[in-house]
């Protein structure tokens, strides 16, 4: 099937303007006649619901957490990028665009990324106006810090809690609309099915996580802002509840899944400490502004870090990438950490760790300044590890963090399934094969505040409105599917817990489809995943019933979907015979171990089409056309 990305014609810097000019509008009095479903209340979902509600649409909002304020955007630490050029250091919309395209290893769409850079400045203004307490200079203006993959200082922040503050800003805007009655919100409600009527997304089926009641909700368009799929690896920096079910259910109803193999491994996370580990904790990339990463030069050096003299340390990022140093992008930094540990230079009890050292910055700036910049992160580190990072270097190791891949969308953020829109991490559109730090918050809010309010109107203006009810056979079928799936999970009554399957899947994914992938490892994963899935459906034990608050049943549904999704991720990684960004195939590396792209054969978006249970999915390709930039070898040296 040919994919129409609907990228407007004309010069890059005029495309969004042209698109807005040509879009159809829904007049103010008619907006309330349209119902729009928004699933998820993270940065993308909450900003979208708040904006659409305020415009007059009738919005139905859902989240699985106990409050919209809990969405995992809240855990983002370091900051949000914007091309404000407040620092007068040479930033511009073009530079942010270029950095993002390059950071994504030339696997993102030019037009989408340029628009993101264009709206970035508006996002900061919007958040400031909402009362988001961004860090300020003494003169009262906004402060900036530097982040990976950029040579300008364009990251706005609120201590180490930027995601929290931006999310609470969007949540407050959403709360205002809930009070005004334009948004009807349901917490502890999980989407289990997408309802498709006459080829269009027209509703969802949810399960009330308190009562177990399965219900249908109908609308004129459905927007998914349901986050990423990092938890397919079991251990990741994602929240425990983060899952791919909404996206996967939509995929099974016809929405294409794009570039699932692009998974970001974040370089600075607290290393795993044992088999009981339930998640990994990120230490913000912003720490690399003042922290220096190193390993001992000597293998098996068991001296405590302060006993290792300067000339016996390898500050490997500074050595290999002198111009970006410790602020090399995430994929590059993660890979280098892995190489050091593979060489036997890793530190800590497991040998899977490198030092992130603040001693020199503390000496230069004083502990007070460091505490002001990163105090809460240092505290968090100490709570988890029992070590004081003001005195001993942090130990860090890469961990799964972000999903660049997601449901395929066109320029208007609409999937190939009409009426289904996908925002934020849940879509694939803006980060190519690797996302730069502080760009996820930008994309989530850009999509929700400044893109979807325009593009949804264009769709609704010519889409069918209303005219469906709960008796529709498609609604009944979707509801039945959700009910019977829950019944099936409960009926297995086997011997193994849901978590044990999730861990097993995660181990297979991490070892074979993780930081380094090969044809051999991927084929191994592709053999193992269906076996685990088969055993799951024969031997899983889900306690309790469907008609109550049942966390095991919630997890079981999500893991069942991960067991299907993980296979697609591995397929995608296997077909992409190149290395790019977060997708690293050991067969395709330069002599110095960097990713070796193959632009002639793989400069495309891989969009996978569901063909039915037990069928191989079909690969559709959207060629990536670069009209404005030259494809270059990505170098941070």
């Amino acid at each position: 099937m040919a994919l129409n990305s609907k990228i407007p014609s004309g010069p890059l810097e005029k495309k969004w303007e042209t698109a807005k000019k040509e879009m159809k509008l829904v007049n103010p009095a008619n907006k309330r006649k349209y119902t729009v479903i928004v699933v998820g209340t993270g940065l993308a979902g909450a900003s979208c619901s708040a904006s659409l509600g305020e415009m007059g649409y009738n919005v139905l909002s859902f989240c699985f957490q106990d409050s919209p304020r809990r969405a995992h955007s809240i855990a983002a630490q370091g900051g949000i990028n914007a091309a404000k050029n407040y620092q007068n250091d040479g930033d511009s919309v073009y530079r942010l665009f270029y950095d993002t395209i390059k950071g994504g290893d030339f696997r993102a769409r030019e037009a989408n990324v340029y628009r993101l850079a264009e709206v970035s400045a508006n996002i900061i203004d919007q958040c400031t106006a909402q009362g988001v307490p961004f860090a300020r200079e003494y003169g009262g203006t906004l402060a900036n810090r530097s982040f990976g993959g950029a040579q300008v200082s364009r990251t706005f922040y609120a201590r180490g809690q930027t995601g929290q503050q931006l999310l609470l800003g969007a949540y407050s805007a959403l709360s205002r609309q809930i009070a005004a009655g334009t948004v009807k919100h349901r917490s502890r409600s999980e989407m289990l099915e997408l309802i498709v009527i006459e080829g269009r997304a027209r509703g969802i089926v949810t399960r009330d996580l308190v009562t177990g009641k399965i219900e249908s909700h109908l609308a004129d368009a459905v927007i998914l802002a349901t986050g990423g799929y990092g938890n397919v690896f079991y251990l990741s920096t994602n929240a425990k509840g983060s899952n791919a079910t909404a996206a996967w259910r939509a995929h099974r109803k016809g929405a294409f899944f794009a570039n699932p193999c692009y998974t970001q491994i974040h370089p600075t996370c607290i290393p795993k400490s044992g088999d009981y580990q339930s998640k990994l904790t990120l230490m913000s990339e912003s720490l690399r502004n003042d922290g220096r990463i190193w390993v001992p030069k000597k293998k098996g050096d068991t001296r405590s870090p302060d006993q290792i003299p300067e000339d016996e340390r390898d500050y490997y990022l500074e050595r290999i990438y002198p111009s970006y140093g410790n602020l090399a992008p995430r994929d590059v930094s993660s890979r280098q950490a892995k190489y050091r540990c593979d060489e036997g230079l890793g530190v800590g009890p497991s040998g899977l760790g490198v030092y992130l050292d603040f001693a020199q910055s503390i000496q230069r700036l004083g502990q007070k300044v460091i505490a002001e910049r990163y105090g809460n992160l240092f505290e968090m580190y100490e709570k988890i590890t029992g070590e004081n990072p003001y005195q001993v270097p942090m130990r860090i190791y890469p961990a799964v963090h972000y999903a660049m891949g997601g449901l395929w969308v066109d320029y208007n953020l609409q999937s190939n399934l009409p009426g289904l829109f996908v925002l934020g991490e849940a879509n694939f559109s803006d980060h190519g094969a690797n996302r730069l730090g502080a760009s996820a918050l930008m994309q989530g809010l850009g999509d929700g505040y400044f893109v979807i309010p325009y593009t949804i109107g264009d769709y609704l203006a010519s889409a069918p409105r209303g005219g469906i009810d709960a008796k529709n056979p498609a609604v009944q079928a979707a509801e039945k599917e959700a009910v019977s799936r829950a019944e099936k999970l409960l009926a297995v009554n086997g011997k193994r817990s849901v978590d044990s399957f999730h861990r097993e899947l995660g181990t297979v994914m991490w070892e074979n489809v993780g930081m380094a992938r090969s044809k051999e490892s991927l084929e191994k994963a592709l053999k193992r995943i269906p076996e685990i899935r088969d055993e799951f459906w024969k031997n899983v034990k889900v306690t309790g019933t469907g008609a109550e608050l049942n966390q095991e049943l919630e997890k079981a549904g999500r893991v069942a979907d991960f067991l299907e999704f993980g296979e697609l991720l591995a397929w995608d990684a296997l077909q992409r015979n190149e290395s790019c960004g977060g997708h690293f195939r050991v067969e395709y590396a330069t002599p110095d171990g960097e990713a070796q792209r193959n632009d002639a054969d793989y400069a495309y978006v891989a969009a996978w089409e569901w063909k039915g249970e037990g069928q191989r999915q079909v690969l559709n390709k959207e060629p990536l056309v670069y009209e404005n930039i030259k494809l270059a070898t990505r170098s941070y040296k």
Binding site: S67, G140, Y276
Partner: protein, 256 residues
């Protein structure tokens, strides 16, 4: 280390609930919730129902986790969520009592899980700045003193977990409500709606069934976000000002 846990088990809101006793082997590197994960795996293995408890980010920022450990919200570590509390702070042979937040405004849904939607409704009553998407001015067009921005941030750090309510003998939500009122009250953006915000949020707080604040300070002692009692004073100040200025407005009304 081996621990004995007395855990509150309650099937749903209608069930009376009771404590049940469990024994679990823990390890000092585990987080408290990972210790409960291990217990739940044991229970599932025995065909029993695991203990329901809320958690999501497990990094101390989402505010979803929380229960009482020996009567103290989020357990013995000061200013730390239970997900960030590690077992190295406990010792072999210890007996711990785990129960849900106890407050009329937070009904128990199951075991250690409570309904905190009352907090959402307090924010809906006025915990925002009314600014239309797309109509904001340039951020640097409005200067904010660094000190005010820093103090607003300190108040804005509230994670909405409900520990303040659980710690308070009156089950007051003053620290939570005061934190939002303080954040917005310290910033120029929050000024136009400051009066109505105080009145409406405090009114909603009352409707939800939270108790009055008598400045005992238990809330500050347990708050994982280190919100200070000062925010309650600021809330009270705004509320008093609001009551009087509204009265003046009403008497002026009608003049035409």
């Amino acid at each position: 280390m081996r621990l004995t846990l007395d855990i509150w088990r309650q099937k749903n809101g209608a069930d009376a609930g009771r404590f049940e006793t469990y024994s679990v082997e823990a390890n000092e590197h585990q987080s408290f919730l990972e210790m409960l994960d291990v217990l739940n795996q044991d229970l599932i293995g025995q065909g029993k129902e695991p203990v329901a408890f809320d958690s999501d980010c497990r990094e101390g920022i989402c505010g979803m986790c929380g229960f009482l450990v020996n009567g103290v919200p989020h357990g013995p570590e000061n200013n730390t969520t239970i997900c960030q509390t590690h077992m190295r702070h406990f010792h072999d042979g210890q007996r711990l009592r785990l129960e849900p937040w106890r407050a009329a405004a937070f009904p128990v849904l199951r075991d250690l899980v409570v309904d905190r939607t009352a907090f959402d409704r307090i924010i809906q009553a006025g915990g925002y700045v009314s600014v239309r998407t797309g109509s904001a001015v340039d951020s640097n067009a409005m200067l904010v003193q660094k000190n005010a921005a820093d103090r607003a941030m300190t108040a804005a750090a509230c994670i909405g977990c409900g520990a303040c309510v659980a710690a308070c003998p009156n089950a007051a939500a003053a620290l939570f409500t005061g934190a939002k009122i303080t954040q917005l009250g310290l910033l120029p953006q929050g000024q136009p709606e400051r009066i109505d915000r105080a009145l409406n949020m405090v009114a909603q707080y009352g409707k939800e069934g939270f108790g009055h604040c008598t400045l005992i300070g238990e809330c500050e002692a347990v708050c994982p976000a280190k919100i200070k009692l000062e925010v309650i004073a600021r809330m009270n100040g705004d509320f008093v000002k609001a009551v009087f200025s509204k009265r003046a407005e009403e008497s002026a009304g009608g003049a035409g």
